[in-house]
């Protein structure tokens, strides 16, 4: 396994790349939480698009076409800030997943429980079993390389994310067209303006990171047939699909389900049951739950495979012990996938069986926010720096407007992610000791970001897979 010749098959085209991004970003579980905000969800989405979605899409397109190498954010940040910076960026993208995996896994398990019998969601053994089957099953698919993962992504994202979103949008239109009662006030432009004050400011970080994952296709550069041509188009296509599905489906839920219902039972299946009951198609709730479960699986798969591939590249370059540098004949980084699955399983075990999950979980999710912000801060900074340090590198896609355009795009992205990092440290009102809260979040973030520095400290030539001449040094 370890020495199998690895062939990077060029299997990815425009559609497959776009679907990787859609799989990573578009999630139906976001809709009810956002629908609570009524018309003002439009304002929040616009903020998210201006300070993150558009900047990261443009930055990703320029960086991916300029440096279409494996490793995604690692390759981009390395060009600007060296190996250490690139490694830290990639590791933060990978490590935040290990804390986040239980979230999406428990979402998948609870949605499946809803399709079978909702009581199962209260059984920790059922939850843990499903979570492990999904986690290890997805890891097994990743083992079979890019082709297998792409098939899962293409089929899964259409059936599990796009079709349910379109169904919700269609029902919303039917609701409007059939003259049923709209539960939010009639539309005025003023109502789209969100209330921003100290109480709602922490939501800013949530709305920015709602679109996290737009850079995911960059991890698959080595398997892309024509990265220079396809990356920008894939970014644009995925951004359009994500925005249309997210905004319209959220509004569809907001006009049908009273905010009080969403507030109280913010589970997506509870919202969909209310929605479908009202529309007289209650029989569709079960099949919808199965589709949304599939959507959860592909959401997990996108985040599970991309950063792991990046880490495999880092290991191949000799920045990690050879233990991490194991690829199989399909080109999958099996060692990284295995280590990831083992750590993720332990964290999931703690998540399900430690009863004090609420406050601890809040701190863990704050750590996820901080780690992701570090990734994007480095990416936006790299975008700006590379225009100065490597101005002549051919970039088939260049952010329009010259240096001013780059500063606007990078500056907006930096503003959004730095502000998210800061507000991510604001404790919720029930944490009485904010010093302990902030200290815990920062310490945890540091612990999960620091391993690259440990690896680089111990790095030695024996870790290199092959020297330039093709032999181990």
């Amino acid at each position: 396994m370890s020495e199998a010749p690895v062939v990077n098959k060029k299997v990815l085209g425009l559609f497959a790349l776009a679907m990787i991004n859609v799989a990573a970003v578009l999630s139906i579980r976001n809709f009810p939480s956002m629908a609570v905000y009524g018309w003002s969800c439009i304002g929040w989405y616009i903020i998210g698009a201006i300070v993150f979605l558009i900047p990261i899409s443009l930055a990703g397109a320029e960086l991916a076409t300029g440096w279409p190498e494996g490793g995604g954010v690692y390759a981009w940040v390395k060009q600007a800030f060296g190996e250490k910076g690139g490694f830290v960026a990639l590791f933060c993208e990978w490590s935040n997943n290990l804390v986040w995996f239980p979230t999406v896994l428990s979402f998948t398990a609870s949605t499946l429980a809803f399709a079978l019998t909702p009581n199962l969601a209260a059984n920790p053994w059922f939850m843990f079993s499903v979570m492990m089957i999904v986690f290890w099953g997805t890891t097994a698919i990743a083992y079979f390389g890019e082709e297998a993962s792409t098939k899962l992504s293409n089929v899964g994202v259409i059936l599990g994310s796009i079709v349910p979103s379109l169904l919700i949008i269609g029902l919303g239109l039917w609701w409007l067209g059939s003259g049923q009662k709209i539960v939010i006030p009639h539309f005025t432009l003023a109502q789209t303006v969100p209330t921003i004050n100290l109480s709602t400011l922490p939501f800013f970080a949530t709305i920015v990171l709602l679109f996290a994952g737009m850079e995911m296709a960059g991890f698959h550069a080595l398997e892309t047939r024509n990265p220079q041509r396809d990356f920008p188009r894939a970014m644009a296509l995925s951004a359009v699909i994500i925005v249309i599905c997210t905004v319209l489906a959220t509004l569809a839920i907001a006009i049908v389900i009273p905010a009080s219902q969403l507030n109280l039972a913010s589970g997506v299946m509870q919202a969909i049951q209310y929605f479908f009951d009202a529309a007289g198609i209650a029989w569709l709730v079960g099949p919808m739950a199965l589709l949304i479960t599939l959507g959860g699986v592909v959401n997990l798969a996108a985040w599970l495979i991309g950063p792991a591939k990046g880490l495999g590249i880092v290991a191949e370059e000799g920045n990690m012990p050879p233990l991490f540098d194991r690829t199989n004949k399909y080109g999958a980084p099996v060692a990284v996938l295995l280590i990831q699955a083992l750590i993720g399983s332990v964290v999931s075990l703690l998540y399900v069986f430690l009863p004090s999950v609420n406050q601890a979980y809040w701190i863990l999710s704050a750590m996820t926010v901080e780690l992701l912000c570090i990734v994007y801060i480095l990416v936006f900074a790299a975008l700006i720096k590379l225009r100065y340090s490597k101005p002549d590198t051919p970039r088939p896609f260049k952010i329009p407007g010259g240096m001013i355009g780059v500063w606007i795009v990078g500056g907006l992205g930096l503003f959004g992610t730095i502000l998210s990092f800061i507000v991510g440290l604001m404790p919720p009102s029930y944490f009485t000791n904010w010093v302990v809260y902030v200290g815990s979040v920062l310490l945890g973030t540091f612990i999960l970001a620091v391993p690259p520095l440990i690896f680089l400290k111990f790095k030695h030539p024996g870790w290199m897979k092959k020297s330039a001449g093709g032999e181990k040094p």
């Binding site: 970003v25 999630s27 579980r29 009810p32 490590s95 290990l98 979230t103 428990s106 979402f107 609870s110 909702p118 969601a121 209260a122 059984n123 920790p124 100290l198 109480s199 709602t200 922490p202 939501f203 949530t206 709305i207 990171l209 709602l210 996290a212 009080s260 507030n263 109280l264 039972a265 589970g267 997506v268 049951q273 012990p321 050879p322 964290v347 703690l350 998540y351 430690l354 009863p355 004090s356 999950v357 609420n358 601890a360 809040w362 701190i363 999710s365 704050a366 750590m367 919720p428 009102s429 029930y430 009485t432 310490l443 999960l448 391993p451 440990i454 690896f455 111990f458 030695h460 024996g462």
Partner: protein, 150 residues
């Protein structure tokens, strides 16, 4: 600095421990809220004690396994802040904790969950907006009441 094969294995294990440690420590530091019956209307009583007005109150039942009912309060304080605080009682610790997991699982994207939730006895108490100063005033009184009745 070079490492032997065993050293490399230790390095990998160290990284694995680095991941698990924060999760384990947080899980152990924050004590579980025991499941017990809290009598009366804890939110209303805490609001009355803190000088916060209840401007609206409705009964409600969440569509969740084990949910047995609760109330939704619209509260306002002398500073003009408003908060919506919902309570829901559960018939067992398992169903209550499952509802907490469900709430956490619906955090949008890779961010944090919307609103704030605490566990008091048989109740989940959910507040919006997330950093409501009203909720911040009520939490110590709610926790005190829960302790007194446990």
């Amino acid at each position: 600095m070079t490492l032997s094969k065993n050293g490399e294995i230790c390095l990998v294990l160290l990284v694995a421990v680095l991941f698990i440690l924060p999760c384990l420590m947080l899980g152990l530091i924050y004590e579980a809220e025991p499941y017990h019956m809290v009598a009366g209307e804890p939110v209303k009583e805490a609001a009355d004690a803190a000088g916060i007005s209840v401007v609206d109150m409705k009964g409600t039942l969440w569509n969740m396994t084990g949910a047995t009912g609760g109330k939704t309060y619209t509260l306002t304080d002398p500073a003009g802040d408003t908060a919506i605080i919902a309570t829901q009682a559960f018939d067992s610790a398992e169903s209550r904790d499952a509802a907490v997991r469900l709430y956490n699982a619906h955090a949008p994207g890779k961010g944090k969950a919307v609103g704030s939730m605490i566990v008091i006895g048989q109740y989940l108490i959910y507040a919006t907006p997330q950093n409501s100063p009203i909720f911040a005033k009520l939490v110590p009184a709610l926790q005190q009441a829960a302790k007194a009745q446990s």
